[in-house]
């Protein structure tokens, strides 16, 4: 079962929830892997503390033009939708940062002058945590715009997807990196805080789950601040609220120090196991829609 944790907005406690759920399952002897898909700012490793002893480059195959074979016909530039190839004065130039690695240029070149060479966009790191969580994350290189290929390759790395439960910590927002993270998930666990900002972004995230047709449920974090807007919205659209985590200085301070929710409050162990059972239930029913 694949559970993606998403939120629309950053800083709502996605990583807090994802790591607590992973730990609770690991403590209950369920085989679990956790993949941090927020490749722009991965943080889950700080809490899960894995030994990151596996590394792998994330490469995108980009075209390289053999000037001896190229006759400057411009077919490659014509088919490139991202303006990553131009032909100037009979010379074919490649702009690697714009290339999405689709391979269209290679396919159309009549002279077979294009080969594809790897360009490194980032790196994957993975390893086992002390409590037995199979952990992995991706790091997008600084200055690199495209996060999606890093997420795609993270999700297909080694045997991470084989665990009984795979938890994906998604990036914030509701656009392409989030879609890539939640794609193929059986359930999306949304996390928000009960404020107007939280509600605004929750709407986006919930609509995204509808768009990709995956059942969803919500955890309200920092319960007690803000206003009842989020509760009202959940009732309106029928989004089940599965758990509320209160606003507590102790939790905030613990997380600031890099502790997980279960380390701060071990009594959440049961709550998260119950949560897992609820998710399994909802995912099973959602599959029939």
């Amino acid at each position: 079962m694949i559970i993606a944790v998403a939120s629309g907005k950053g800083g709502t406690g996605k990583t807090t929830v994802a790591t607590a759920l992973a730990q609770a399952l690991a403590h209950a002897d369920i085989s679990v892997s956790c993949l941090d898909c927020d490749v722009e700012g991965p943080n889950a490793h700080i809490f899960i503390r894995p030994t990151l002893d596996h590394h792998k480059n994330v490469d995108l195959l980009i075209p390289e033009v053999d000037a001896d074979l190229c006759n400057g016909c411009g077919k490659c530039a014509e088919v490139c939708q991202f303006h990553a190839i131009v032909v100037l004065g009979g010379q074919t130039l490649v702009f690697p940062e714009l290339c999405h690695g689709c391979g269209s240029c290679t396919l159309v070149c009549p002279e077979k002058a294009i080969t594809e060479v790897p360009r490194t966009l980032g790196i994957l790191e993975g390893g086992l945590s002390p409590d037995g969580i199979n952990f992995g994350h991706g790091l997008l290189n600084v200055g690199e715009p495209m996060a999606v290929p890093v997420i795609t390759q993270l999700k297909s790395w080694r045997d991470y997807m084989d665990a009984e439960v795979v938890i994906l910590d998604s990036p914030p927002g509701a656009s392409c990196p989030v879609v890539e993270s939640v794609r193929g998930a059986d359930f999306v666990l949304l996390v928000t805080e009960p404020t107007p900002f939280g509600l605004h972004d929750l709407r986006q995230a919930y609509e995204l789950t509808q768009e990709v047709d995956i059942p969803a449920g919500l955890i309200i974090n920092r319960d007690g601040i803000g206003d009842p807007g989020v509760d009202v919205y959940c009732q309106e659209v029928g989004l089940p609220v599965l758990m509320k985590i209160p606003l507590e200085r102790e939790i905030g301070q613990g997380i600031a120090q890099g502790k997980t929710l279960l380390e701060i409050h071990p009594e959440y162990q049961d709550a998260f196991q119950t949560l897992y059972a609820q998710i399994a239930d909802l995912a099973a029913n959602g599959g029939d829609r």
Binding site: G8, K9, G10, G11, T12, T15, D38, V39, E40, G41, N43, I46, F47, V79, Q81, F82, H100, G101, C102, G103, S104, L107, L140, V142, G143, E144, P145, M146, A147, P171, P172, G173, A174, S175, C176, V178, V179, R183, G184, T195, P196, F197, H200, D201, Q204, A205, E207, L208, E211, V212, D213, I225, D227, R249, G252, Q253, I255, A256, Q257, G258
Partner: protein, 324 residues
Amino acid sequence: MKQLVILSGKGGTGKTSVAAAFAHLLSLDDAPFRTVLADADVDASNLELVLSPKIITRESFRGGLYARIDWNTCIDCGICEQVCRFDAIGDTSRPQFHRLAARRVAQSDTPSSPIPELPIVDPIACDGCAACVYQCPVDAITMHDQVVGEWFRSESRYGPLFHASLRPAQENSGKLVTLVKQQARLLALDEDYDLVLVDGPPGIGCPVISAVSGADMALIVAEPTAAGVHDMHRVLETTAHFGVQSLVCINKADIYPKGAAEIEAFCREQAVQVVGRIPFDTTVTEAMVQGQPVTLFAPDAPSSRALLEVWGQVTALLQNGVSP
């Protein structure tokens, strides 16, 4: 005219609360700049929630080309599926694609059953590369664009505001960020504004790169937590990579003093100026719930006083022409 972008590496650090406070302070009579505001967090545009803008112009944003296969022409040769590197084309016998096909058939003018066993494109997975279009031997595939969002010019209580909203599950947020910033800049140039204040998106990827490009200065809002320190490193590397001068302010500075000290030590080492420490203050949330900048809602709150200080330092540094 200068451009100041507020960034954080991560959402939820208080970027928008800082931007809203700045917008308020910059609108006061003795403010050193006349300012145009731009919300570049098009995924989660929250600035509008505190600035009560009145929309003046509304334009749709088209983007996200995707492929579509005409089943009347398709000969089911499978080439499109082979060449697609984004796993966006699949035969309707695969469950994910079967669901798509069922929806498409139901929406068509002449709903038929059973669902034809032919390839179909998942528009959300489609990257718009059109490789399939060029490889299809019978020209059964065409590219289509769609409205994926909107952008707005508004009049906010603190001056002109440019903002946008991207529909959920859409791409091209970097392009929309560029568009919003361009519009803000054009107005600033046309009407002699001194400053474009940009509330940036989280992360370090494509929308952030769009938000940073052309900025004179970046104010990075950092949280003194184990995760926050890590995020700040990454965003500082990004601004350095693009040659944009950065300042740091620490929000919720007192929740974890050791983290705050770590941020300060790191900034000293990197010669990045720390322009303030904003204490953890529930007044900020109360102000947000009321839809007001905290500096307006409670000018004497500890957070407001700290923000006034940060604002003073940032505007002084901007005025003295830190960046040519």
